[in-house]
């Protein structure tokens, strides 16, 4: 079995507010192995980006890691100083951010932005960095890379800007790449190119990847394992096949039934009632119970334990407890 690169344990990330600290991530635990792609899925506001930014040490100023540990190559990132984190970010872990327009600096050329990390972290000369930059642009499939080095971000299309972002993220040979919705703003044809590119690069470089998305189609194309988040908690985790073919949590099932299948004209769309709670909403028991079609008394009283379904699949739902009659649960899973 491959070695574990990242191990997050009981991570709690909170935001300051007038009503005291509000948790955006509530005790998340997961790990990533070498060469593996882990997808984090869930709807807007469930805590995907904040989980990633906690790992990167790039939380907004009103946010903090309140509890838990983040072990990366045996070192706890949660306890590192900002200066140490800066070094980790340059060398071992890098991230592609959610907004591609804001992530590239509009006043500097592509060349400047790709050379800089190479000169700082790999201590290359300007000339060496330039040559390496051209290689990187070529690797991510940008045509005429030599000319592109002198262009500004606004002269590139959205898909090309995203490729430049990927090139910069890969510049220092990270062992872990975190990509936060790298294709969400792009057209499907361009999205397909970027997904293929990420899959190819990951294989070539034997890199680990955490991919954040809310698109269940993208997950199926890229993930080895999946974690599903809801309102700050990981509610289900498993191999990609397990999540799609044998989802256990009512929320995971609901998500899959909410996306119309392009290949199925008879697809029976089943919305989940209600919407994601706000950070300051108090919810007793299971955080999904107000929207859950299967909720029973216990769900309202006690936060569910984690139940093991297979060696890789875990789910936080009281329906898994022995002796609980799955009223209608089977109907939902045979969609």
């Amino acid at each position: 079995m491959k070695e574990t690169v990242l191990e997050v344990k009981d991570l709690v990330t909170t935001f300051k507010s007038a009503d005291g600290p509000l948790p955006a991530v509530r005790g998340a635990s997961f790990s990533v192995k070498k060469g593996e792609t882990l997808c984090i899925v869930g709807e807007s506001g469930c805590g995907k980006s904040i989980t990633a930014l906690s790992i990167m040490g790039l939380l907004p100023s009103n946010g903090m890691i309140a509890d838990g540990s983040i072990f990366f190559n045996q070192k706890n990132l949660a306890e590192m100083s900002p200066k140490q984190m800066q070094k980790v970010r340059g060398n071992d872990v890098s991230m592609i951010f959610q907004e591609p327009m804001t992530a590239l600096n509009p006043v500097f050329t592509v060349g400047f932005q790709i050379r800089e990390p190479l000169m700082i972290h790999l201590k290359l000369s300007k000339k060496q960095a330039h040559m390496r930059g051209i290689e990187l642009l070529k690797m991510v499939g940008i045509p005429s890379p030599v000319e592109r080095m002198n262009q500004f971000p606004h002269e590139l299309s959205g898909g090309m800007r995203q490729r430049v972002m990927i090139a910069i993220a890969l510049s220092c040979n990270p062992s872990l790449l975190i990509a936060d919705e790298p294709t969400t703003a792009l057209d499907v044809t361009i999205q397909a190119q970027i997904i293929d590119l990420l899959n190819d690069l990951k294989e070539q470089l034997d890199m680990s990847m955490i991919m954040i998305t809310h698109d269940m189609g993208v997950v199926a194309e890229i993930a080895d394992r999946v974690i599903v988040m809801y309102a700050g908690e990981i509610i289900e985790e498993g191999r990609v096949e397990e999540i799609y073919e044998n989802p256990q949590h009512p929320y995971t099932k609901g998500l899959l039934a909410s996306v119309p299948n392009v290949d199925d004209p008879e697809f029976d769309l089943k919305p989940i009632v209600g919407s994601m709670p706000m950070l300051n909403e108090q919810i007793s028991g299971c955080r999904f119970h107000p929207r859950c079609p299967f909720a029973f008394d216990k769900c309202m009283e006690k936060s569910p334990e984690t139940f093991q379904v297979t060696d890789k699949q875990n789910v936080r739902c009281w329906l898994q407890e022995e002796g609980v009659e799955q009223n209608g649960g089977r109907r939902a899973s045979s969609l």
Binding site: E43, S44, P143, S157, G158, G159, M160, D187, V188, T189, I190, Q191, A192, Q193, I195, D196, H214, D215, M216, G217, V218, V219, A220, E221, V240, E241, Y244, E245, G254, L255, L256, A257, S258, V259, P260, N261, V262, D263, P265, F267, L269, K270, P271, I272, V273, S275, M276
Partner: protein, 324 residues
């Protein structure tokens, strides 16, 4: 969704070009051909989907059909009336028949106005209802789109994205239109909420016999909701077909590529994707001949010089391509 073959709206060779200005004198240097020759009939009671990549002219087409943009060229015939050159006064009774639902309903709501008052506005302009009757109607509308009576008093910022879209829908249907342009109405919503709004749109259509022009880049949602689909590329029509024919037998190479690019939520079935080269050309300088030839995997010499004709290849199934 009972679609009879009665034409509600006839769109004939419609063009919308936007001037591009430049230089010190801000002279018109060029034109963006946002919509460049669209001809189609929209049938009563149908949902006609419009798909294509960002910038291909979907929203402009919707806005032009609603009379929100002036026509550069072409004709609009609504219910047998040629309204292309109508004055705004002549247009008023037709505007009542046509409404729009936007991607971001928040942008079109006044933050300082209570939801009830916002919904009443159209009733004041287009009906003679008394204020009591208007209130009745607004409460009925809130109920119809799945909101509550107490929402009447609330302000836009107090609503979630899905609820705001319900308000946008309530506003669009408030004066009983027959035709609604839905411009990416669910794109900004979470999938669970998106499914709720899709169901609502479908229920309302059934109940009121509405006709929709449904603009979207989500081909899954379009398959689920539409009867026919128009595929646009650089302002032009490349394929138009009943929904099952388009998805089961896509014939234009662009439609094929678009459908093959969608990530499928099914594991293990690795499909061969048709890879398109390059990016979308600029709509102010579209390629000659077939607009798709610069990225087309099967293009021949002819494609770069001669514009392919629009032709019917099967009942109700039209394409513009030399090679298919």
């Amino acid at each position: 969704m009972a679609v009879d073959e009665q034409v509600l709206y006839s769109v004939k060779n419609v063009k919308k070009h936007f001037p591009v200005r430049g230089g010190i004198l801000q002279r018109v240097k060029n034109h963006v051909k946002a919509v460049d020759g669209i001809t189609l009939d929209i049938y009563k009671g149908e949902t006609l989907g419009v798909v294509g990549e960002s910038g291909c002219g979907k929203s402009t087409l919707g806005r032009t059909i609603l009379g929100l943009e002036s026509l550069t060229e072409g004709e609009l015939v609504f219910n047998g009336n040629n309204i292309s050159n109508y004055s705004s006064r002549q247009l008023k009774p037709f505007k009542k028949e046509m409404q729009m639902i936007f991607q971001d309903p928040y942008a079109s709501l006044n933050p300082k106005q209570r939801i009830g008052d916002a919904l009443e506005e159209a009733l004041i302009i287009h009906t003679n209802l008394s204020s009591l009757e208007r209130r009745e109607r607004v409460l009925q509308l809130l109920n119809e789109v799945g909101l509550k009576e107490e929402h009447y008093e609330r302000y836009p910022h107090e609503f979630s994205g899905g609820q705001r879209q319900r308000i946008g829908i309530a506003r669009a249907i408030s004066i009983n239109p027959s035709f609604i342009v839905c411009d990416e109405p669910v794109s900004a919503l979470d999938v669970s909420v998106q499914a709720q709004v899709i169901k609502l749109l479908r229920d309302l259509q059934e109940k009121h016999g509405l006709t929709y022009l449904f603009v979207s880049h989500d081909l899954g949602v379009v398959r689920h909701l539409c009867n026919r689909v128009l595929v646009m590329y650089l302002g032009q029509m490349v394929e138009l077909a009943p929904v099952h024919k388009l998805y089961e037998n896509p014939t234009h190479p662009y439609t094929e590529a678009l459908l093959s690019a969608i990530p499928r939520p099914t594991v293990g079935r690795k499909r061969e994707r048709i890879r398109l080269k390059g990016d979308l050309p600029s709509p102010s300088n579209p390629p000659t001949g077939c607009p798709f030839h610069t990225r087309c995997p099967i293009a021949q010499n002819k494609c770069s010089t001669e514009k392919p004709a629009w032709r019917e290849i099967d009942e109700g199934h039209f394409i513009a391509c030399h090679e298919r």
